[in-house]
Subunit: 347 residues, 2 copies
DNA sequence: TTGAAAGCGATACCAC
DNA sequence: GTGGTATCGCTTTCAA
């Protein structure tokens, strides 16, 4: 039984060959019609299209990619977690842009574990993706090897990286923590606290903490306590983290949080305790998250273009796929928001 | 040039044939070692593995699937939006479970548009996914045709559906809106408001609104205003939606929101305006979202197991793939949370 | 405008 | 234990 057969394949799925047979043309002609490649008559086209409709043909893109030795239209995207709305937004930015250009996001949740990233990478690469977007700049040696050898567009996001493996878009988290620390020391604060969550690996949040700690040390202040909770960085974690921190360090004057949601949790804890803000204690968050827009006061924070990071990353991958010139690395920066949850002037 | 060649392919990627050649065995033997299938000596195994490592071989799963005429390990997952943390959590539940069993999530954001779902479906099906999880129970005719003909496990989530196309897990949103409405009418409320967001299509939120409206009508109350904003259902939308609603309907006694985040936005607007809660106005949300855990009072709401819906959906797909018995449809239910942002007794 | 044949990278099947 | 050969569904290439 040779080329132009009409028996169904093992999956009982309609194949191009069956379409061709039914339309009375060769596989090649049917293939040309399908790709609208030209080189066929209108009547042929009509016949083939009719059969496609009638038989409910769904092309097997696996075979297409395979035959052409091309890449798929997949783009692998790894992010640490979805529960964290910051990353959900970054992902939304990526998928919106990718989807608009006919690409599909293959998701990889690493849960902040480099080994999980490595495992995911191996799998996703075996599907011949057209590009890769990964969160963070640190990877296992094996991951780096895979990433470098893949020969496809790669963007490392979130942490800005001036010498990326391929491309990068993000911001300097150390600087962002440093700038908040400097702002707060400038207001006369001396006794500092930090509440965040801990993960196995060096990550962006710990870079912010490092910058914060650095400027505090340099200016003669004291970072009384850095609390790293083993929990998701959300409202409630901020709430009970603040409770813990204040229970043991009642002299802390201001607390910096891993993000705004945790800060709002802390804020509410303080209010419940009857502490005045910023009179008794200062509160600073990070990320300028949606919740900040409805508080009765402006939360001291750092604004970051989450969605934009995702969109830019997707654009970088897409333009690289299309062989256009691209920017290797882009720093989207950050904006410190003074707010009213810390002192407004030097005391 | 026959079977055991060693020239690199067009993508400059290492193939099994090259590994085999380098190790001095046939492709088949190399393939067996790779799959740890048995039927080779330890020394052969060692030689092949060494070459795999040395050459940095990454298998081409496209070819594997193709050759075996199997399905891929992809599972297509469509959700309306990621910015909405409810769906982000559902997706997290799905991907965690799927990832643990060696499957990959191929994302599809439909932005609440049925046509976008249809377009995505066509694409994702061409990649021979092992299963499909889609949000919602309404689809275009073409989508239904594709879904029915796909011959792979399919779960419709979010809206519980007693006669799904294949399988379903979710809850009855109409009932959930009805139960809240009944609770509120039972407390003596008569003038009702609703604040949500609008989307083109019939969706779960509008089913809740319908249930709410139904019970209000039946009990002789009045749904003064149902405000459907063209915006994402977040904190700020709830805030300004409440402002709009109250400006035109000052006699409304209680407002039901599309979700807790919007309710908290409304709550903050009321507080800013100096309205007492629940004295001057009652507030009810939906979803029991994280923010509710840190408020100084319990938000009246409806608790729903978001993450669990995702996990169950993934489990349904997985067990179906593995040919195990499965449940066709599962109603995860909901729990009304009385809270303290509405009257506590009949007035 | 059309078609026949070769081949993409792996696996199934059968022979040795 | 090991290897040859056919094959998956499609595109590339070349010829008509």
């Amino acid at each position: 039984m040779s080329s132009t057969q009409n028996k169904p394949n093992k999956n009982n799925k309609v194949s191009l060959a069956q379409i061709a047979k039914a339309a009375g043309v060769s596989k090649m002609t049917a293939s040309r019609v399908l790709r609208d490649e030209g080189g066929f008559s209108e009547s042929t086209r009509a016949r083939v299209m009719a059969e496609i409709d009638r038989l409910g043909y769904v092309p097997n893109r696996l075979a297409t990619v395979f035959a052409g030795d091309q890449r798929s239209t997949f783009v692998g995207v790894s992010i640490p977690e979805l529960g964290n709305e910051i990353f959900a937004q970054v992902l939304e930015g990526i998928d919106r842009k990718l989807g608009a250009f006919g690409h599909q996001t293959v998701l990889g949740m690493t849960e902040h574990a480099l080994e999980q990233e490595e495992k995911w990478l191996e799998t996703v690469l075996s599907w011949q993706p057209a590009g890769l977007i990964v969160t963070g700049r640190s990877h296992t040696p094996k991951s780096i090897q895979l990433l470098s050898g893949a020969g496809i567009p790669l963007v490392e996001i979130w942490d800005f990286n001036s010498s990326p493996l391929d491309m990068s878009v993000g911001l300097n988290h150390f600087d962002s923590g440093y700038s908040m620390g400097r702002y707060l020391t400038g207001l006369g604060y001396r006794q500092f606290g930090y509440v965040g969550t801990s993960h196995d690996t060096a990550n962006a949040a710990s870079a912010r903490l490092a910058g914060y700690a650095k400027v505090i040390g340099d200016s003669g202040g004291s970072l009384k306590k850095q609390l790293l909770l083993k929990d998701a960085p959300g409202f409630y974690t901020g709430y009970y983290g603040t409770e813990q921190l204040l229970a043991a360090n009642s002299d802390v004057e201001v607390i910096y949080y891993q993000n705004d949601n945790m800060a709002v949790g802390g804020l509410n804890y303080c209010q419940k305790r009857g502490l005045s803000i910023p009179g008794d204690i200062g509160i600073a968050g990070w990320g300028d998250l949606p919740i900040a827009s409805i508080l009765p006061y402006r939360l001291t924070s750092t604004a970051v273009p989450h969605l934009r990071i995702g969109m830019i990353a997707a654009e970088m991958v897409l333009s690289q796929i299309n062989g256009e010139a691209r920017r290797r690395s882009q720093d989207v920066g950050f904006t410190l928001i003074p707010g009213s949850t810390v002192r407004s002037q030097l005391e």
